[in-house]
Structures are given as structure tokens and as C-alpha cells.
């Protein structure tokens, strides 16, 4: 080798200033600039999509948090409701309130205030507010009182003004009518907590997200409580204790496959196992949570194993070297150091579970649930299913409610991820 190099012709010094050399340098700079531009372009494109999504959602959903209300003078004293304030102090108050004809009272009051068409101005469920008002303050029964109650979808649409004009004659007429009512201060648009406190309803002016939000909260609680500990312990066992043989290989392959199984199949599994075999209640948060936990667990196992694997062996050696037992090495060093990675996996898994619709449809969580669930076994629905149900409704009043529900879902997601990221940063250690 050496002789070959020595015997070759004298070495020509490289001319770094030659034309081709300079061109190559310029081309290299251009390529680097181009590459940077591609990256920037990709970032801007995805940021643009995201901004578009957010702007659309917020602009069409913001209205969902408001309510068009109409002033309804109610003559409780002269009404057909023969109740005395004192009667409502007894134990049978709920029964008495249920028997009273508030619907008729609302209709009579509307006709009295706005004529025959008054019935169309009022939300179908407006009478519920009369009942609630009485329930809150029985002395109303002796007075005449003007209450603000939700207006009908038609009024609500007219409140948008010109943007809804020209579509039909009725609508144009309603816009004119709305302007009159507005001038007389008989209608108002107001931010309403109703959307955040009520549950599903067939009347878009009276729907709320609380039922679905609470259902999601309960479901996610079950999912987290099951998937996180089981996932982490599985990861720990597979990484730290499992002998390397065919069985652990099979388990590993199965878990990796499980993470890729389409979610609807988990729904079928949940239906077959939890409802048909264990007789758990249909449409309940506990079944939803169990099903989603099955789906989330493999993601946590995979992320957890990678996180545990990435703890430097030198740290294990250090702990073992001063006489820490294997469990101490694990709990004092390996788990705290791999926690950020485990949490990242948990965020991904939980976010996916939160947005999951398909498996929950199969276990009956698409039912119409008008009362927020009060426990894990009550009929419940979850945010994405609620969005799916509302987007399917014919009544145009549901459009903005759907967008508003999406905003709530995104905020929930953001809050969940925010907590996880905060935890991750808190435990993040550098070495």
C-alpha cells in the first residue's frame, strides 16, 4: 500500500478557488437554503391549517355559548296553576311542580304578550324555566313577573340579522319581526351558562354539553386508572423481569399489534365481553372506560418500554453498585427517569381515547342522554359521540351547538395535555 502511494505521480495541490469548486460551494449553499425553506413551508402550511380550523370553530361555535332570549311577562297569580307558596315547602313539592301545567302557562303568556304567533317565538322548552323559577322562588306565584326565556330557533336565526336573509319568506318576515322586538327591548342576546350546565335535548335552544362533558370525565377517569398502572407495570415487567424466550416474544408482538388494531374492534370486544359476559350496564361510563383502557394500554406499554430502555445503564450500575435492590433501582431511579417518556405515551393514548367515537357507539354510548350521569354506571355519552349526534340533527340550531361542543372538546384535550406536559416538565431530569 505504502509503496503504491509513494510511486504515484506527485500530488497536485487542490485549487479551492477554481471555478467548478466555487460553483459547487454556491450550489451547496443554495441546497441548504432550499431545504430550510421546505421545512419552513411545511411548518407554515400546518400552522395555517390549524389556524383555519381554530378560526372556523371559534367563529361558528362562539354563538353556541350565547342564547337569544325573549321577555315573557307571566301572570302567575292569575294563572291556572293553583299552587300556594306554602305548599311548595312540603315534601311533595317535586310532585306538585310536576303536576302543574307550566307548559300551558308559558303558551298562554306568550299568546297574551305577542298574539297568536307568540307560540312560535318561544322555545318549546321555555316552560321548564318557569318551573325552575317557581322552584327557586315560590313567592313568584303571587306576582306578575317578566321572565327572560329562551327564544325559538327561528328567532335565534333572525338574530343573526342579514346573514340569514333571502333564504325564505318566513325567515325574512322573522327578521323584520325580530327588529321590532329588538327595538321594544323584548329580545336580547346574552352569554348563557346553559350550554355548559345542561345535557342533551331535542330542542337546540336548550341543549347543553355538561352531560357529555361529565360522561367524558368519568370515562377518562376509568381509562386512566386502568390503563396507566397496568400499562406501566407491564412495561416494567417486560423490560426488567421477563426472561427472553418465545412467550415474551409472543407477548411483545401481540402488544405491538394491539396498538394498531382499529378502534371499532375494541368496541366489539367491549360489547362481547363487558356487556354480554359480565353484564355491565349498557351505555355506561364504566364500560366505555374499560373499552378505551384496552385501547390505550398498548400505547402506554410501548412508550413505557422505550422510556425504561432509554435510562442509561450507568445509572442502574451506580445504584446497584452501592447496594440498591432491584426494586429500589426501579422505583428510585429507573421509573422517575423514564416518567417523562411514560407520560408522553400516556398523553398520546389518552388524547386518542378522548377523541374516540367508534368503539363507544358499539357499547351503546350513542343513546340520547338528557340527564348528566351521576356515576360510573349511569347512562352517559361522551363529547365526540355528542358531536357526532348533533352533527346528524336536522334542526339548523344544532350547527352552532356542534361547533361549540367541538370547542369544549378541544379545550378539554388542551387541559388534559397541559396537565401531562406540566407533570412531564416537573419530573424531567437531565444528565
Amino acid at each position: 500500500m505504502n509503496t503504491a502511494i509513494a510511486s504515484s505521480t506527485a500530488r497536485q495541490p487542490t485549487d479551492w478557488n477554481a471555478g467548478p469548486m466555487q460553483r459547487r460551494i454556491r450550489a451547496r449553499y443554495r441546497a441548504e437554503k432550499r431545504f430550510r425553506f421546505y421545512g419552513l413551508f411545511a411548518v407554515l402550511l400546518s400552522a395555517g391549517f390549524l389556524a383555519f380550523l381554530l378560526v372556523t370553530m371559534v367563529s361558528s361555535g362562539a354563538r353556541g355559548f350565547t342564547q337569544t332570549q325573549i321577555a315573557l311577562p307571566v301572570n302567575f297569580a292569575g294563572s291556572d296553576i293553583f299552587l300556594e307558596p306554602s305548599q311548595l315547602e312540603g315534601e311533595d313539592r317535586d310532585q306538585l311542580l310536576a303536576q302543574a301545567d307550566f307548559q300551558g302557562l308559558a303558551q298562554q303568556s306568550a299568546i297574551a304578550a305577542y298574539g297568536e304567533e307568540g307560540l312560535d317565538l318561544l322555545s318549546n322548552g321555555a316552560w321548564v324555566l318557569l318551573r325552575d323559577a317557581i322552584s327557586a322562588d315560590p313567592t313568584l306565584l303571587t306576582r306578575n313577573e317578566t321572565l327572560w326565556v329562551p327564544a325559538s330557533t327561528e328567532v335565534d336565526f333572525a338574530a343573526r340579522g342579514d346573514s340569514g336573509a333571502g333564504q325564505s319568506e318566513e325567515r325574512d318576515a322573522m327578521i323584520v319581526r325580530y327588529a321590532e322586538l329588538d327595538a321594544a327591548d323584548q329580545v336580547r342576546r346574552t352569554l348563557s351558562w346553559n350550554f355548559l350546565t345542561l345535557a342533551d335535548s331535542s330542542d337546540p335552544t336548550l341543549v347543553g354539553i355538561w352531560g357529555a362533558l361529565k360522561g367524558s370525565l368519568l370515562t377518562m377517569t376509568i381509562t386512566l386508572l386502568l390503563a396507566f398502572p397496568i400499562g406501566v407495570l407491564t412495561a416494567v415487567y417486560l423490560e426488567e423481569y421477563a426472561p427472553e424466550n418465545r412467550w415474551t416474544d409472543i407477548i411483545e408482538v401481540s402488544i405491538n399489534n394491539l396498538a394498531a388494531v382499529p378502534s371499532i374492534i375494541f368496541g366489539l370486544l367491549g360489547l362481547a365481553v363487558f356487556i354480554n359476559v359480565f353484564y355491565l350496564p349498557r351505555s355506561a361510563a364504566i364500560v366505555g372506560g374499560l373499552t378505551l383502557a384496552l385501547m390505550t394500554m398498548p400505547v402506554i406499554v410501548i412508550a413505557g418500554r422505550n422510556a425504561i430502555k432509554s435510562v442509561p445503564p450507568s445509572i442502574r450500575d451506580a445504584a446497584l453498585g452501592i447496594g440498591a435492590s432491584p426494586v429500589q433501582v426501579l422505583t428510585h431511579h429507573v421509573l422517575p427517569l423514564s416518567l417523562p417518556g411514560i407520560l408522553t405515551g400516556t398523553i398520546i393514548g389518552m388524547s386518542r381515547a378522548l377523541g374516540e367515537t367508534a368503539p363507544l357507539l358499539l357499547i351503546g354510548m350513542r343513546a340520547f342522554v338528557a340527564t348528566p350521569p351521576s356515576g360510573f354506571t349511569d347512562p352517559a355519552t361522551v363529547l365526540p359521540v355528542q358531536i357526532f349526534l348533533w352533527s346528524d340533527e336536522l334542526d339548523p340550531g344544532f350547527v352552532e351547538k356542534t361547533s361549540a361542543a367541538i370547542i369544549v372538546l378541544l379545550l378539554f384535550l388542551l387541559a388534559m395535555n397541559g396537565i401531562a406536559i406540566w407533570l412531564r416538565n416537573k419530573y424531567e431530569q437531565r444528565w
Binding site: P243, E244, P312, S314, I315, R316, D317, A318, A319, L320, G321, I322, G323, A324, S325, Q328, H332, H333, L337, Q429, R430, W431
Partner: protein, 279 residues
């Protein structure tokens, strides 16, 4: 290629050669003994029939070219090889005449008695205080906070680190320089009050000044602990140790007083290695 072949043959030749068994270590200072130790990684034999005595009062150096098994053998002395599933150790290793591979031996306690300092400084990503306090804490060596403070301070002083870090005991141990980190690791090993300290090339990742400090520290610690240091730096072995064992291809070729071994090696292979013919 030829050279390696020669060495292989050489190893084969010496396989049956009896190990010179002059009582190098006086019985009253004998701390650890190894007899006929073989180590296998799967089917591969890494250590072949090593017998050695380690005394309390001296620093013992293991030297030899890379891959000769000196680190593997060192890790047998506190059973760190247990963590490698395919490693198998046969033969007998005793600490104070107790077989450390006996089933009744508690490996956690063994590692507290036989501490270890690793090649790369590996402080925990915790504060300096926590690094040193961790060992005493898990072994329950301190009954009160003030006692723990004392142990930490004493250990840091012994490791020659206290003056440099006394104002920032709550800073992260990983923020220290490499040499300081290694002294922190030594302080951490000292804190559990071991009888033997094994050092696996403790200076190979350090600059000469940090190395000098560690060597000085080893000199200071001599006599308080039985120290075994693995090094591939022969000058270091000559500087810090009183006895040297030369390993080659998994066998213990020669073991003797450091001064003798370096000036008057009895085996040709030792001579070749210390004169720089290979390694």
C-alpha cells in the same frame, strides 16, 4: 494477524501452567480471595481459572490490554455480573472467608460492603447531597437528619470534594466537572462505609489534572479500604498500587509487588506488555 495467532498459542500453552502461589498477602490482612474462577458469557469463556488474594492494606491494580477480562473479573468481586443474564461464574470468591456466591449471601449487603466506582462518572441526576446520602439512606445507616448530614460531609471530605462543593450541596451532581463527578461517585461509594472499593478504570474519562487528583485520593484512602483498581495505564498502576496483577486473554498471567512486576517481570508476556510490545 500472525502476532495475534502467536498470542493465542501462548495462551493455550499457559493454560495448565500453575499460578505462582507464593503467599503474597499476609493472612491477617487478607480481605478477598478468589480460587479457580471461570466466567462465561454464553459459550464464550471470558475468565479462565483465575486465583488471586486481595489484601486490606494495599491498593491492588489489575492491568492488561483491552478485552483481557480484568473488568469482568473485577465485576465478579461484588457480583455486578449478576445483572448480565448470560454471564455465568464458577469457582470460589470469598470475602472475609465467606463465599460471596453462596445462596445465603445477600447480594445487596455484599455490594454495600464491596463498593464500586465506574469507568464513566455516573452521578445520579439529583443534588450532590442526595447523591451521597442515597446509599446511607437505603441501608438505614443514619437514624437522624443530622447524622445523615455528618455522613455526607465526612464522605465528601474523604473524597476531597467537600471544599469545592460545600456551598452548593443542593446543586445537581451532573453539573459538576468530570473529575468532580468521579470524586462525587467515590464519595457516594464511601458513604455506605464499604470494606472494599472496586474502581473500574476510574480515570479513563478524565483529563490529566483530574486524574492526578483521583490518584492522590486513592493514595489517601489506602489502608482505610481495600482498593482494587483496574487500569490500562501502566504508569497509573505503578503510581497508585502496591500490588499488580497482569491479565491477558482471560488469564491471570502474573501477580506480584508492583515494584517487582514492573522492574523484573517473571513472565515473557508481562515483559512484552509493560515494555509496550502489545496492548
Amino acid at each position: 494477524m500472525n502476532n495475534v495467532g502467536d498470542m493465542m498459542n501462548d495462551a493455550m500453552d499457559t493454560h495448565a501452567e500453575p499460578i505462582a502461589d507464593a503467599p503474597l498477602v499476609a493472612p491477617d490482612t487478607l480481605k478477598m480471595t478468589a480460587r479457580n474462577v471461570d466466567v462465561y458469557y454464553g459459550a464464550k469463556q471470558a475468565i479462565d481459572n483465575v486465583s488471586i488474594d486481595i489484601g486490606m492494606e494495599n491498593v491492588t491494580a489489575f492491568i492488561g490490554p483491552s478485552g483481557c477480562g480484568k473488568s469482568t473479573f473485577l465485576r465478579c468481586l461484588n457480583r455486578m455480573n449478576d445483572t448480565i443474564p448470560i454471564a455465568r461464574v464458577t469457582g470460589q470468591i470469598e470475602l472475609d472467608e465467606n463465599d460471596i456466591y453462596d445462596p445465603s449471601m445477600d447480594v445487596v449487603q455484599l455490594r454495600a460492603r464491596v463498593g464500586m466506582v465506574f469507568q464513566k462518572p455516573n452521578p445520579f441526576p439529583k443534588s450532590i447531597f442526595e447523591n451521597v446520602a442515597y446509599g446511607p439512606r437505603i441501608h438505614g445507616l443514619a437514624t437522624s437528619k443530622s447524622e445523615l448530614d455528618q455522613i455526607v460531609e465526612k464522605s465528601l471530605i474523604r473524597a476531597g470534594l467537600f471544599e469545592e462543593v460545600k456551598d452548593r450541596l443542593n446543586d445537581s451532581g451532573t453539573a459538576l466537572s468530570g473529575g468532580q463527578q468521579q470524586r462525587l461517585c467515590i464519595a457516594r461509594a464511601i458513604a455506605v462505609d464499604p470494606e472494599v472499593i472496586l474502581m473500574d478504570e476510574p480515570c479513563s474519562a478524565l483529563d490529566p489534572i483530574a486524574t492526578a487528583k483521583i490518584e492522590e485520593l486513592i493514595n489517601d484512602l489506602r489502608g482505610k479500604y481495600a482498593i482494587v483498581i483496574v487500569t490500562h495505564n501502566m504508569q497509573q498502576a505503578a503510581r497508585v498500587s502496591q500490588r499488580t496483577a497482569f491479565f491477558h486473554l482471560g488469564t491471570l498471567v502474573e501477580y506480584g509487588e508492583t515494584s517487582d512486576l514492573f522492574t523484573n517481570p517473571s513472565k515473557d508476556r508481562t515483559k512484552d506488555y509493560i515494555t509496550g510490545r502489545y496492548g
